[in-house]
Symmetry: C2
Subunit: 453 residues, 2 copies
């Protein structure tokens, strides 16, 4: 598609917009954390852009789109590159658009923040906390991930125990999106319209700016707790998740077989400990610890946020969500993971059944979140990977048990968290990317439409 492009001439056409064509650097910026999945690691091995372009503002974005559209060059937008499904990997080469330069953080008004797509989540949090506001939710990659990448490629994370998934009405308030056309348009999506581009991997528009609702900030206590038995930890974590009087931001339970990989916590954990990770409001620390003692757990580490910062300790949230897997991968390259949700009030019985079936092959990891006003039990268990066939068999067995699986071993939108083509996203792609040049190959609904046409 891009074989006949003269990239030096292309770069020159962009004037003073920064570009990078060094093969190693371009390959580096063409990757995300796809290698969490041995399946994607295999499939996406050789993927690389031809050039990385780093716009400094929206005018630059528009200029790049014009040049790309004219030459039919695909664009794959990218933030911090911390996704796990190859979201930001350019399957058909062309331009990787590094949006980290669009990092303006505007003044916050009544908890509503307008922010450039490239602003890092950690910087947004640091900027807003002294003003009394904090992120409603963030991924465990908060230090390096951008808000644009999180909105385009993520779904929830730390904070979802309060605010549910990002797609719930009220969290994404607005998105400024540039279309992939000869004369690019700048569209302002408002309210639920933002879901047209949320979790669409940048396939149907380049997000340049976002408006998000924040949460009122409060001081958090960073907890690592330990239990002798995972079942007791799971019950405790579930109870904390449902305790309306205990203000929290994170409720994670990790089985001993997975927590054994938590090298930075070795000094505070004993062999065989199952580990809970929590962010608990300072005002709720007393009630939390009282409940912990009754449940038979112990505090392994308790820190204020300032103590975490000052000592350089790894914060609790960097053992949760996809960082649970990352901590394991640092020790054992044969580890991968699943994304799933255990249904109903009986979720912990089903968790116990799965653990009894798979034992050490699938070390359990639970994240409690809210879904439609109710507490739900999400799970990102580790998997000791042998073959893709075995992985698929485990997924099929989970589904047969009534567990919903959001397959992280695919780069196709519909086969992962989306489960099906989102008609609003597909319709918006027709409008905003008529030639299918944005992050091509990721939206099956579009490709099938292309084939059918």
């Amino acid at each position: 598609m891009t074989a006949d492009i003269n990239w030096a001439a292309f770069a020159a056409s962009l004037g003073d917009i920064p570009t990078e064509t060094d093969r190693a650097l371009v390959r580096q910026k063409s990757r995300d954390f796809y290698w969490y999945s041995p399946v994607l690691k295999q499939q996406l091995r050789g993927v690389s852009a031809d050039i990385v372009v780093a716009p400094r503002d929206e005018a630059d974005v528009i200029a790049v789109i014009r040049e790309c559209f004219a030459r039919r060059v695909p664009i794959t937008p990218r933030g911090g590159g911390t996704g796990n499904y190859g979201q930001a990997m350019p399957l058909r080469g062309g331009v990787v658009l590094d949006l980290m330069g669009l990092n303006t953080i505007h003044p916050i008004v009544d908890g509503m923040l307008r922010v450039g797509a490239g602003a890092k989540l950690g910087e947004i949090e640091a900027r807003c906390r002294p003003l009394g506001w904090e992120l409603r939710m963030f991924p465990s990659t908060r230090r390096t991930a951008t808000i644009g990448g999180f909105v385009a490629g993520g779904s929830g994370g730390v904070g979802s125990i309060n605010f549910g998934q990002m797609r719930e009405a009220g969290t994404l308030l607005g998105a400024r999106v540039v279309t992939m056309e000869a004369a690019p348009r700048v569209l302002e999506l408002r309210g639920t319209e933002v879901n047209r581009v949320h979790h669409a991997y940048g396939t149907n528009g380049i997000i340049t700016e976002l408006e998000i609702a924040m949460a009122p900030a409060q001081p958090w206590r960073d907890y690592v707790v330990a239990f002798n038995e995972f079942a007791a930890l799971a019950r405790f974590t579930n109870a904390v998740a449902r305790a309306d009087g205990i203000a929290k931001r994170l409720c994670t339970a990790v089985d001993a077989a997975a927590a054994a990989y938590f090298k930075p916590l070795r000094d505070v954990l004993a062999v065989g400990d199952s580990v809970g990770l929590f962010l608990i409001a300072a005002q709720s620390a007393g009630a939390f610890e009282q409940a912990l003692a009754v449940a038979g757990g112990r505090v392994a580490r308790r820190m204020t946020e300032a103590e975490v910062e000052d000592t350089g300790a790894v914060p609790a949230f960097e053992f949760t969500w996809n960082h649970t897997t990352l901590q394991a991968l640092k020790v054992d390259r044969d580890i991968t993971y699943l994304q799933s949700r255990f249904p109903g009030p009986d979720c912990l019985r089903l968790v116990a059944e799965v653990m009894a079936t798979y034992g050490d092959e699938v070390p359990m990891h639970l994240e409690f979140i809210r879904v439609d006003g109710e507490v739900a039990c999400a799970a990102l268990p580790l998997v000791r990977y042998t073959t893709e066939a075995r992985l698929r068999a485990i997924i099929a067995d989970f589904e047969a048990r009534g567990i919903t699986v959001f397959d992280p071993h695919t780069y196709v939108l519909e086969d992962g968290g989306m489960k099906q083509t989102d008609p609003a996203q597909l319709a918006f792609k027709r409008e905003a990317d008529p030639l299918g040049l944005l992050n091509p190959g990721k939206m099956r609904g579009w490709d099938e439409r292309e084939t059918a046409a």
Copy 2:
């Protein structure tokens, strides 16, 4: 019991502690909003203390207790007197202890506030808001109710959609309680121990100080919304209650037959409107209004808190919880109400069935709250009162349908919200009030023990 007391001599024994013996003023301070219930209105008609004593601090409280204990004079503690079940009415005369002088508000630390029992909830809110904190929950009588009265006689209210009932671990952090003994002890209850005196009507200790967890403050929008059909309003209110992305503090749905009594809203409502009352975070106003339009409702009144304050408008919350009943009683003295909870995900079907059965006799009023991490449908429907037998028949029918009723037509703890004797409260009464002099006649478990002994 107190017939042979010389009250002038008693008052003199208290030195400079303020007292009041004027019959009219004493009767006034011996009442609460018990007259919401025609049953209690009848039963408690002649109730009055012999004297009102108004301690200025804890030392005064101890001095009063010494004198009362020596003479076997009962004490009924009182805050703002805004209860609805005769909580603060002295069935056996003696002293009404007006605790509103104990109104110190200490500096707030990390969202934890230590405060005198007599501090008004409205003043706590006003003092803490500029510091970034607000009450987790409050009754609709916020202007005049005290924190001590709310803790001793209440259970939840505005804010319970986020934090559940007050008794959930983590909201009541501590209580300082003086015992009714020859040598009164001052006890510091911590954490879940506070439930020994919470909702015990002051029958087992005099609360002088409380420590409570606050919520991080945020700007709220005060909404009155209108629907042509109650069923559509109920569905919308339920949906908002469950919408994790919409930050709120109040979710109330009032049927047209009840909303017809909302005189202060006549200018913004049409005849036949069913009315929703909401407090929605400023950042969530857009999502709220978008959902409202989709549901077929309209904004009847939208104000900032400053606008409510500046214009002297009646805030939305003063049409909710027990103020729904109060607004009706201002117009029609034959109105009373029920307190109930409609169970399960099918709650709205049951609501519709009850409405179909009772029609205009029981105008519906729903309050959505959290219970054990899930959204629950509480209801305080109005009742057009005819006879107590009919009222009891309605309650029995509600219960037969699986609706939990917390009978507001009784002054006995166990027959109202408590449903049964709380063993921890009874045990604490043995310890803190061995002679049964505190608010006598309210705790059935104690009286039956007395009879049995």
